[in-house]
């Protein structure tokens, strides 16, 4: 019998925060996560730029469910469950494409790109109860678009997306506002699996503590390219922030430049002026302080439960889904301002390739690290993982506050407490969990 109260020990006054490792290994936990987290929360599907033109579609699995999204001839992006309303076959069988009409190959029912059922062969074979108008493609109960990021929820009663995003909204704005004419997803995605529990990638993505030891070879590489090694040493000392609803951010000083809009010798003299102009525009539009946040500071943002936005030299959008307790599927994309001239996206891609990609100099080591944790759990004799770092002080990015924020909300959902207050840097909110 699963005892959730034995999953987390959260005692701020004593500086204790531990996670029971069965949270990463138990099939019952994963089943509960599916019901209580993935079926209840807002989940990221796509960026609207992935379907630029009317009729463009792509398919995507979200929480194990086959979905597809299509830009209708009216210009609106809709998300549909990828199943024929007749007998269930997948409607969209290509990863991407373009269609005015999507036809099910099984019995040739066809739907326009607004989802309406427009063609039923030999329709006279159905009686008077057959209501063609009600047989259009079905959407998830809730679909909302926040500034180009499209989310769905399978929970009809979920709060509005903006309310759900809480403090993460401000950080999404910091990303979107970098572009004058909107953001776009660059063609090509990284799809890979990790043999580890999905929550270990949440932890890894928000964890500033592992960066220096795990990614030594990456920092050796960039130091070799001319980045000052001192910059790496102090980059992760900024205060940590939690953003409510389980969202959290790990902010750090950028150790290399940013195409938005902090020039580095690595970008080449020829791009210096362009980058200075972007910065000047951002200062004019948003003021010095906000422009500073947008251009000088890098951040890893978790939109609970499983969307990561790494706003760094490149902007990585990463989503990951549990398959079994010890296996997840990951997909990652690159986001860039539409107006950026060709050489700058190249610099973004360069960074992605050297750090965040599965062929990069850092992400493979993160994969190795969390697979190693998962493998270590099989030893069983050590029941708890330790996440108390920084509880006794004002937490910094190298501490584990961000991880605790995720876990507290995770516990809130799993235990039925619902939304818990994860916003206080040190003490207040955890009293509810201490019981």
């Amino acid at each position: 019998m699963l005892d959730l109260d034995r999953m987390i020990i959260d005692k701020p006054a004593d500086g204790i925060f531990r996670i029971h490792r069965s949270a990463m290994t138990s099939p019952e936990i994963l089943q509960m996560e599916q019901e209580r987290i993935f079926n209840k929360s807002w989940l990221y599907v796509c960026h609207e730029s992935e379907v630029e033109n009317p009729g463009d579609y792509r398919r995507r699995n979200v929480a194990g469910r086959p979905l597809f999204f299509v830009r209708g001839n009216d210009g609106k992006v809709r998300v549909f469950l990828n199943t024929c309303t007749h007998r269930g076959a997948l409607i969209c069988r290509h990863d991407q494409g373009h269609a005015d009409v999507l036809q099910c190959f099984y019995h040739a029912w066809s739907f326009n790109n607004h989802g309406d059922l427009v063609g039923v062969p030999d329709e006279a074979g159905y009686g008077h109860s057959f209501n063609k108008a009600a047989m259009g493609l079905k959407s998830p109960p809730r679909v909302e678009n926040y500034r180009g990021f499209i989310f769905v929820s399978f929970n009809p009663d979920v709060e509005d997306l903006v309310g759900y995003l809480a403090g993460a909204r401000e950080y999404l704005d910091l990303v979107v506002d970098q572009a004058e004419h909107g953001m776009r997803i660059i063609a090509g995605s990284n799809r890979y699996s990790i043999k580890a529990n999905w929550k270990l990638l949440v932890e890894n993505s928000l964890d500033g503590y592992h960066v220096k030891p795990t990614h030594k070879s990456y920092f050796d590489y960039v130091t070799g390219l001319g980045v000052k090694s001192g910059a790496v040493q102090t980059a992760f000392s900024r205060p940590a922030r939690v953003l409510g609803n389980g969202h959290a951010v790990e902010e750090h000083d950028g150790v290399r430049g940013r195409p938005i809009a902090r020039w580095s010798p690595l970008f080449g003299e020829e791009n210096k002026e362009e980058i200075a102009a972007i910065r000047a525009r951002l200062v004019r539009k948003f003021g010095e302080q906000r422009a500073h946040l947008m251009t000088d500071i890098s951040r890893n943002l978790l939109v609970y439960p499983n969307l990561l936005i790494i706003d760094s030299i490149d902007i990585t959008v990463r989503i990951f889904w549990p398959i079994t307790p010890d296996l997840m599927d990951v997909t990652a994309w690159q986001l860039a301002p539409r107006e950026e001239k060709p050489e700058l996206p190249r610099r973004r891609l360069d960074n992605f390739l050297t750090f965040h990609g599965p062929g990069g100099f850092a992400t493979p080591d993160d994969v190795e690290a969390i697979e190693s944790c998962q493998a270590g759990y099989k030893a069983e004799g050590v029941e708890w993982s330790e996440l108390s770092r920084g509880m006794h002080r004002e937490a910094i990015a190298e501490d584990e506050l961000q991880l605790r924020a995720f876990w507290r909300q995770w516990y809130g959902h799993m235990s039925g407490l619902g939304k818990v207050e994860t916003n206080d840097p040190i003490i207040r909110q955890t009293v509810a969990l201490a019981r």
């Binding site: 660059i186 995605s189 890979y192 992605f352 062929g359 100099f361």
Partner: protein, 166 residues
């Protein structure tokens, strides 16, 4: 390529096959510095993503797009104990077949099929795909000017990474 025929009276095909097999052996034996020496000074190594096999590294997201600076760094990382995904190193075995050679003005373009098994920590995962080698004569030797490895898998679903040199 006329010079090729003159070398030891071997045919171009024999020369190319030998080159590819020797290259595979260097990689399987982790003799990575010797492998690096097979490239011209402006050589490139490139792996597109699984969903965009025709991806252009200038504009699209790819897995790997190394010039010689980054390729050298990749090799250094693989040789160090800080490239954790390959420390300890995996065992690999490369099978190269279906070689098609097209002789061009300044060298040749060779395509081939590969099957690379990688064994590590009790697991095995094959990388399946095809190579495009652009080879040319430099310093009296056949050298790699451009090397592309295109994967046929739909995702890196067994592998988690492209941590070895394909």
């Amino acid at each position: 390529m006329p010079q090729a025929r003159e070398q030891n009276d071997r045919t171009v095909r024999e020369l190319v096959e030998d080159f590819l097999y020797q290259e595979a052996a260097l990689l399987d034996q982790w003799r990575l510095d010797e492998w690096l020496a097979l490239f011209t000074s402006d050589g490139r190594y490139f792996v597109p993503t699984t969903d965009l096999p025709n991806g252009d590294p200038k504009t699209d997201l790819v897995f790997i797009d190394d010039d010689m600076v980054r390729l050298r760094a990749r090799v250094e990382r693989l040789k160090s104990r800080h490239g954790h995904r390959e420390y300890p190193s995996s065992r690999t075995r490369r099978f190269i077949t279906n070689i098609i050679i097209k002789v061009t003005e300044d060298g040749m373009v060779v395509t081939s099929s590969f099957l690379i098994y990688r064994f590590r920590l009790g697991e095995s995962s094959p990388y399946v795909g095809w190579y495009e080698h652009k080879l040319k004569q430099a310093d009296g030797q056949l050298k790699i000017h451009h090397r592309k490895a295109v994967l046929d898998m739909e995702a890196l679903s067994e592998h988690g990474a492209v941590s070895i040199i394909l």
